[in-house]
Protein backbone atom coordinates (compact mmCIF):
# COMPACT_ATOMS: atom_id res chain seq x y z
CA UNK A 1 0.00 0.00 0.00
CA UNK A 2 2.92 2.33 0.81
CA UNK A 3 4.37 1.72 -2.66
CA UNK A 4 1.03 2.62 -4.15
CA UNK A 5 0.95 6.03 -2.47
CA UNK A 6 4.60 6.76 -3.34
CA UNK A 7 3.92 5.87 -6.96
CA UNK A 8 0.89 8.11 -7.25
CA UNK A 9 1.73 10.96 -4.91
CA UNK A 10 3.48 13.03 -7.62
CA UNK A 11 0.50 12.92 -9.94
CA UNK A 12 -1.89 13.76 -7.11
CA UNK A 13 0.27 16.71 -6.06
CA UNK A 14 0.34 18.01 -9.65
CA UNK A 15 -3.47 17.81 -9.83
CA UNK A 16 -3.88 19.52 -6.47
CA UNK A 17 -1.35 22.22 -7.36
CA UNK A 18 -3.13 22.92 -10.67
CA UNK A 19 -6.46 23.38 -8.91
CA UNK A 20 -4.89 25.64 -6.25
CA UNK A 21 -3.08 27.73 -8.88
CA UNK A 22 -6.30 28.29 -10.85
CA UNK A 23 -8.20 29.31 -7.69
CA UNK A 24 -5.35 31.59 -6.56
CA UNK A 25 -5.04 33.31 -9.95
CA UNK A 26 -8.75 34.06 -9.95
CA UNK A 27 -8.84 35.38 -6.40
CA UNK A 28 -5.64 37.47 -6.79
CA UNK A 29 -6.57 38.92 -10.17
CA UNK A 30 -10.05 39.73 -8.86
CA UNK A 31 -8.58 42.43 -6.61
CA UNK A 32 -6.65 44.16 -9.36
CA UNK A 33 -9.10 44.09 -12.25
CA UNK A 34 -8.98 47.28 -14.29
CA UNK A 35 -12.26 49.14 -14.46
CA UNK A 36 -13.00 48.02 -18.02
CA UNK A 37 -12.66 44.33 -17.00
CA UNK A 38 -14.79 44.52 -13.87
CA UNK A 39 -17.16 42.01 -15.51
CA UNK A 40 -14.62 39.34 -14.45
CA UNK A 41 -14.20 40.61 -10.89
CA UNK A 42 -15.69 38.51 -8.08
CA UNK A 43 -18.00 41.34 -6.96
CA UNK A 44 -19.51 41.46 -10.45
CA UNK A 45 -19.83 37.67 -10.50
CA UNK A 46 -21.78 37.85 -7.23
CA UNK A 47 -24.12 40.33 -8.91
CA UNK A 48 -24.49 37.99 -11.91
CA UNK A 49 -25.29 35.14 -9.49
CA UNK A 50 -28.00 37.28 -7.85
CA UNK A 51 -29.46 38.17 -11.25
CA UNK A 52 -29.48 34.51 -12.28
CA UNK A 53 -31.52 33.60 -9.22
CA UNK A 54 -33.97 36.47 -9.11
CA UNK A 55 -37.64 36.34 -10.08
CA UNK A 56 -38.28 35.85 -13.77
CA UNK A 57 -39.98 38.60 -15.72
CA UNK A 58 -41.85 38.99 -19.02
CA UNK A 59 -38.48 39.23 -20.82
CA UNK A 60 -37.62 35.70 -19.66
CA UNK A 61 -40.64 33.96 -21.19
CA UNK A 62 -38.36 32.77 -24.01
CA UNK A 63 -36.69 30.45 -21.48
CA UNK A 64 -39.70 28.13 -21.69
CA UNK A 65 -38.87 24.98 -23.68
CA UNK A 66 -40.95 22.05 -24.88
CA UNK A 67 -39.23 19.57 -22.52
CA UNK A 68 -40.39 21.50 -19.46
CA UNK A 69 -43.31 20.18 -17.43
CA UNK A 70 -46.21 22.45 -16.47
CA UNK A 71 -45.29 21.91 -12.83
CA UNK A 72 -41.79 23.24 -13.50
CA UNK A 73 -43.07 26.26 -15.45
CA UNK A 74 -45.50 27.06 -12.62
CA UNK A 75 -42.65 27.03 -10.10
CA UNK A 76 -40.22 28.88 -12.38
CA UNK A 77 -42.59 31.78 -13.06
CA UNK A 78 -44.47 31.53 -9.74
CA UNK A 79 -47.82 30.89 -11.46
CA UNK A 80 -50.89 29.64 -9.58
CA UNK A 81 -50.99 25.81 -10.05
CA UNK A 82 -54.27 25.83 -12.00
CA UNK A 83 -53.60 28.94 -14.13
CA UNK A 84 -52.22 27.25 -17.26
CA UNK A 85 -54.74 24.42 -16.97
CA UNK A 86 -57.60 26.93 -17.09
CA UNK A 87 -56.17 29.22 -19.76
CA UNK A 88 -55.13 26.43 -22.12
CA UNK A 89 -58.20 24.27 -21.36
CA UNK A 90 -56.08 21.27 -20.40
CA UNK A 91 -58.17 18.23 -19.51
CA UNK A 92 -55.30 15.74 -19.18
CA UNK A 93 -55.36 14.14 -15.71
CA UNK A 94 -51.54 14.05 -15.65
CA UNK A 95 -51.40 17.87 -15.46
CA UNK A 96 -49.13 19.39 -14.10
CA UNK A 97 -46.80 16.36 -14.26
CA UNK A 98 -46.59 16.24 -18.03
CA UNK A 99 -44.20 17.98 -20.42
CA UNK A 100 -45.36 20.47 -23.05
CA UNK A 101 -44.03 18.17 -25.79
CA UNK A 102 -45.90 15.10 -24.48
CA UNK A 103 -49.14 17.01 -24.03
CA UNK A 104 -48.98 18.50 -27.54
CA UNK A 105 -48.10 15.11 -29.08
CA UNK A 106 -50.90 13.30 -27.23
CA UNK A 107 -53.41 15.89 -28.42
CA UNK A 108 -52.14 16.01 -32.02
CA UNK A 109 -51.07 19.63 -31.71
CA UNK A 110 -48.08 21.30 -33.28
CA UNK A 111 -45.47 21.47 -30.51
CA UNK A 112 -44.09 24.87 -31.56
CA UNK A 113 -47.54 26.48 -31.80
CA UNK A 114 -48.56 25.07 -28.42
CA UNK A 115 -45.28 26.30 -26.94
CA UNK A 116 -46.05 29.80 -28.24
CA UNK A 117 -49.49 29.58 -26.61
CA UNK A 118 -47.93 28.63 -23.28
CA UNK A 119 -45.45 31.50 -23.57
CA UNK A 120 -48.27 33.92 -24.35
CA UNK A 121 -50.33 32.81 -21.33
CA UNK A 122 -47.31 33.13 -19.02
CA UNK A 123 -46.57 36.57 -20.51
CA UNK A 124 -50.19 37.66 -19.92
CA UNK A 125 -50.05 36.53 -16.30
CA UNK A 126 -46.77 38.33 -15.61
CA UNK A 127 -47.98 41.55 -17.28
CA UNK A 128 -51.22 41.45 -15.23
CA UNK A 129 -49.31 40.84 -12.02
CA UNK A 130 -46.87 43.66 -12.78
CA UNK A 131 -49.71 46.11 -13.49
CA UNK A 132 -51.52 45.02 -10.29
CA UNK A 133 -48.36 45.62 -8.26
CA UNK A 134 -47.88 49.00 -9.91
CA UNK A 135 -51.48 50.00 -9.18
CA UNK A 136 -51.17 48.95 -5.52
CA UNK A 137 -47.93 50.90 -5.12
CA UNK A 138 -49.35 54.07 -6.69
CA UNK A 139 -52.49 53.83 -4.48
CA UNK A 140 -50.31 53.48 -1.37
CA UNK A 141 -48.14 56.41 -2.47
CA UNK A 142 -51.13 58.69 -3.15
CA UNK A 143 -52.77 57.82 0.20
CA UNK A 144 -49.54 58.47 2.12
CA UNK A 145 -49.00 61.83 0.35
CA UNK A 146 -52.60 62.97 1.09
CA UNK A 147 -52.07 62.17 4.78
Amino acid sequence: MKEFWIKHIKLLLVLLATILIIISIFSILGRFFPEERQDLAPSHLIQVFRNNHGSLTVNDVGLIKSWMTFDYINKLFKLPPEYLKMQLAIADTRYPRISIRSFAKNNNMDINIFLLNVEQEVRNYLVNEASKTLATTSTQNSSSSSQ
Partner: protein, 195 residues
Protein backbone atom coordinates in the same frame (compact mmCIF):
# COMPACT_ATOMS: atom_id res chain seq x y z
CA UNK B 1 -30.80 20.93 -28.41
CA UNK B 2 -30.16 17.20 -28.67
CA UNK B 3 -33.34 15.15 -28.63
CA UNK B 4 -31.74 12.69 -26.18
CA UNK B 5 -31.07 15.57 -23.81
CA UNK B 6 -34.60 16.98 -24.11
CA UNK B 7 -36.09 13.55 -23.29
CA UNK B 8 -33.65 13.18 -20.39
CA UNK B 9 -34.58 16.61 -19.02
CA UNK B 10 -38.31 15.84 -19.14
CA UNK B 11 -37.72 12.58 -17.23
CA UNK B 12 -35.53 14.46 -14.77
CA UNK B 13 -38.36 16.88 -13.99
CA UNK B 14 -40.96 14.12 -13.78
CA UNK B 15 -39.13 11.43 -11.80
CA UNK B 16 -36.45 13.55 -10.12
CA UNK B 17 -33.90 11.47 -8.17
CA UNK B 18 -34.87 8.14 -9.74
CA UNK B 19 -34.42 9.55 -13.26
CA UNK B 20 -31.18 11.23 -12.18
CA UNK B 21 -29.81 7.93 -10.86
CA UNK B 22 -30.80 5.95 -13.98
CA UNK B 23 -29.46 8.57 -16.43
CA UNK B 24 -26.14 9.06 -14.66
CA UNK B 25 -25.67 5.32 -14.12
CA UNK B 26 -26.34 4.39 -17.75
CA UNK B 27 -24.26 7.31 -19.04
CA UNK B 28 -21.27 6.28 -16.93
CA UNK B 29 -21.70 2.58 -17.62
CA UNK B 30 -22.19 2.32 -21.38
CA UNK B 31 -24.70 4.66 -23.08
CA UNK B 32 -23.46 7.85 -24.79
CA UNK B 33 -25.67 10.18 -22.73
CA UNK B 34 -24.76 13.85 -22.18
CA UNK B 35 -23.98 13.29 -18.49
CA UNK B 36 -22.22 16.62 -18.00
CA UNK B 37 -25.18 18.58 -19.33
CA UNK B 38 -27.52 16.52 -17.14
CA UNK B 39 -25.36 17.48 -14.14
CA UNK B 40 -25.40 21.13 -15.25
CA UNK B 41 -29.20 21.08 -15.57
CA UNK B 42 -29.63 19.36 -12.21
CA UNK B 43 -27.43 22.01 -10.58
CA UNK B 44 -29.70 24.67 -12.04
CA UNK B 45 -32.84 22.81 -10.90
CA UNK B 46 -31.30 22.61 -7.42
CA UNK B 47 -30.85 26.39 -7.40
CA UNK B 48 -34.58 26.71 -8.19
CA UNK B 49 -35.49 24.44 -5.27
CA UNK B 50 -36.43 21.50 -7.47
CA UNK B 51 -33.64 19.25 -6.11
CA UNK B 52 -31.45 19.28 -3.01
CA UNK B 53 -27.89 20.18 -4.03
CA UNK B 54 -26.33 18.03 -1.30
CA UNK B 55 -28.46 15.00 -2.14
CA UNK B 56 -27.74 15.36 -5.85
CA UNK B 57 -24.00 15.73 -5.22
CA UNK B 58 -23.83 12.57 -3.07
CA UNK B 59 -26.08 10.61 -5.44
CA UNK B 60 -24.06 11.66 -8.50
CA UNK B 61 -20.75 10.71 -6.91
CA UNK B 62 -22.00 7.36 -5.62
CA UNK B 63 -23.78 6.51 -8.88
CA UNK B 64 -20.89 7.34 -11.23
CA UNK B 65 -18.40 5.48 -9.05
CA UNK B 66 -20.66 2.42 -8.72
CA UNK B 67 -21.18 2.35 -12.46
CA UNK B 68 -17.46 2.73 -13.25
CA UNK B 69 -16.42 0.10 -10.70
CA UNK B 70 -19.05 -2.28 -12.08
CA UNK B 71 -17.58 -1.89 -15.58
CA UNK B 72 -14.08 -2.46 -14.20
CA UNK B 73 -15.01 -5.61 -12.29
CA UNK B 74 -17.04 -7.09 -15.17
CA UNK B 75 -14.05 -7.21 -17.49
CA UNK B 76 -11.75 -8.23 -14.68
CA UNK B 77 -14.01 -11.23 -14.06
CA UNK B 78 -15.33 -12.09 -17.55
CA UNK B 79 -12.59 -10.49 -19.71
CA UNK B 80 -13.19 -9.94 -23.46
CA UNK B 81 -16.61 -11.63 -23.52
CA UNK B 82 -18.10 -8.58 -21.76
CA UNK B 83 -16.78 -6.17 -24.42
CA UNK B 84 -18.09 -8.39 -27.21
CA UNK B 85 -21.47 -8.71 -25.49
CA UNK B 86 -21.76 -4.92 -25.01
CA UNK B 87 -20.59 -4.31 -28.60
CA UNK B 88 -18.21 -1.53 -27.63
CA UNK B 89 -16.62 -0.15 -30.84
CA UNK B 90 -13.20 -1.70 -31.40
CA UNK B 91 -11.61 1.67 -32.20
CA UNK B 92 -12.61 2.97 -28.74
CA UNK B 93 -11.04 -0.09 -27.13
CA UNK B 94 -7.82 0.23 -29.13
CA UNK B 95 -7.46 3.96 -28.42
CA UNK B 96 -8.19 3.55 -24.73
CA UNK B 97 -5.94 0.48 -24.41
CA UNK B 98 -2.73 2.35 -25.29
CA UNK B 99 -3.41 5.23 -22.92
CA UNK B 100 -4.56 3.12 -20.00
CA UNK B 101 -1.40 1.03 -20.23
CA UNK B 102 0.98 3.99 -20.47
CA UNK B 103 -0.74 6.67 -18.35
CA UNK B 104 -3.10 4.76 -16.08
CA UNK B 105 -3.95 7.41 -13.47
CA UNK B 106 -4.12 10.38 -15.79
CA UNK B 107 -6.24 8.51 -18.36
CA UNK B 108 -8.77 7.40 -15.76
CA UNK B 109 -8.89 10.92 -14.31
CA UNK B 110 -9.26 12.78 -17.63
CA UNK B 111 -11.86 10.44 -19.13
CA UNK B 112 -14.16 11.11 -16.16
CA UNK B 113 -14.24 14.78 -17.18
CA UNK B 114 -14.65 14.78 -20.95
CA UNK B 115 -14.89 12.65 -24.04
CA UNK B 116 -16.74 9.45 -24.86
CA UNK B 117 -13.99 7.08 -23.64
CA UNK B 118 -15.02 6.80 -19.96
CA UNK B 119 -16.85 3.44 -20.20
CA UNK B 120 -14.19 2.00 -22.54
CA UNK B 121 -11.43 2.99 -20.08
CA UNK B 122 -13.31 1.27 -17.23
CA UNK B 123 -13.52 -1.96 -19.19
CA UNK B 124 -9.91 -1.78 -20.39
CA UNK B 125 -8.70 -1.09 -16.84
CA UNK B 126 -10.34 -4.31 -15.67
CA UNK B 127 -9.12 -6.23 -18.70
CA UNK B 128 -5.43 -5.32 -18.38
CA UNK B 129 -5.52 -5.72 -14.60
CA UNK B 130 -5.08 -2.16 -13.32
CA UNK B 131 -4.79 -2.38 -9.52
CA UNK B 132 -8.21 -1.83 -7.97
CA UNK B 133 -7.03 0.85 -5.54
CA UNK B 134 -5.38 2.79 -8.39
CA UNK B 135 -8.61 2.61 -10.36
CA UNK B 136 -10.81 3.62 -7.41
CA UNK B 137 -8.51 6.51 -6.42
CA UNK B 138 -8.41 8.18 -9.87
CA UNK B 139 -12.03 7.33 -10.56
CA UNK B 140 -13.00 9.09 -7.33
CA UNK B 141 -10.81 12.14 -8.08
CA UNK B 142 -12.08 12.48 -11.66
CA UNK B 143 -15.72 12.02 -10.75
CA UNK B 144 -15.40 14.37 -7.78
CA UNK B 145 -14.00 17.20 -9.94
CA UNK B 146 -16.53 16.50 -12.72
CA UNK B 147 -19.56 16.44 -10.41
CA UNK B 148 -18.45 19.52 -8.44
CA UNK B 149 -17.65 21.58 -11.58
CA UNK B 150 -20.89 20.86 -13.43
CA UNK B 151 -23.27 20.91 -10.46
CA UNK B 152 -21.81 24.16 -9.14
CA UNK B 153 -21.76 25.72 -12.64
CA UNK B 154 -25.45 24.83 -13.06
CA UNK B 155 -26.24 26.13 -9.59
CA UNK B 156 -24.49 29.46 -10.29
CA UNK B 157 -26.06 29.90 -13.72
CA UNK B 158 -29.49 29.23 -12.21
CA UNK B 159 -32.40 30.23 -14.44
CA UNK B 160 -30.10 30.96 -17.38
CA UNK B 161 -28.19 27.66 -17.54
CA UNK B 162 -29.67 26.87 -20.95
CA UNK B 163 -28.29 30.10 -22.39
CA UNK B 164 -24.75 29.01 -21.50
CA UNK B 165 -25.08 25.24 -22.02
CA UNK B 166 -23.76 25.31 -25.59
CA UNK B 167 -20.67 27.33 -24.60
CA UNK B 168 -19.99 24.98 -21.67
CA UNK B 169 -20.29 21.93 -23.97
CA UNK B 170 -17.80 23.54 -26.36
CA UNK B 171 -15.37 24.32 -23.52
CA UNK B 172 -15.56 20.75 -22.17
CA UNK B 173 -15.13 19.25 -25.66
CA UNK B 174 -12.15 21.57 -26.26
CA UNK B 175 -10.49 20.57 -22.98
CA UNK B 176 -11.00 16.88 -23.88
CA UNK B 177 -9.53 17.41 -27.35
CA UNK B 178 -6.53 19.38 -26.05
CA UNK B 179 -5.75 16.74 -23.43
CA UNK B 180 -6.06 13.99 -26.03
CA UNK B 181 -3.74 15.89 -28.38
CA UNK B 182 -1.17 16.38 -25.62
CA UNK B 183 -1.31 12.63 -24.91
CA UNK B 184 -0.81 11.81 -28.59
CA UNK B 185 2.12 14.24 -28.92
CA UNK B 186 3.82 12.90 -25.77
CA UNK B 187 3.32 9.35 -26.99
CA UNK B 188 4.79 10.12 -30.41
CA UNK B 189 7.71 11.94 -28.79
CA UNK B 190 8.48 8.93 -26.58
CA UNK B 191 8.29 6.56 -29.55
CA UNK B 192 10.67 8.79 -31.47
CA UNK B 193 13.11 8.79 -28.53
CA UNK B 194 13.03 4.99 -28.29
CA UNK B 195 13.58 4.64 -32.06
Amino acid sequence: MDSILTIALSYLLLYKYLAFFVLIFLGAFILPLPDNLILLATGAFASQGYFSLTAVFILALVTTMTSDILGYFLTRRFEMSVLKFLRIPERHIKTAHHYVEDYTGMTIFITRLAGPFGPAVNFISGLIGVQWHTFVLYDFLGNFVDVVVFLVAGYLLGNYWLVYSDQISIIVASIGTIVLLVFVVVRLWKKKDIA
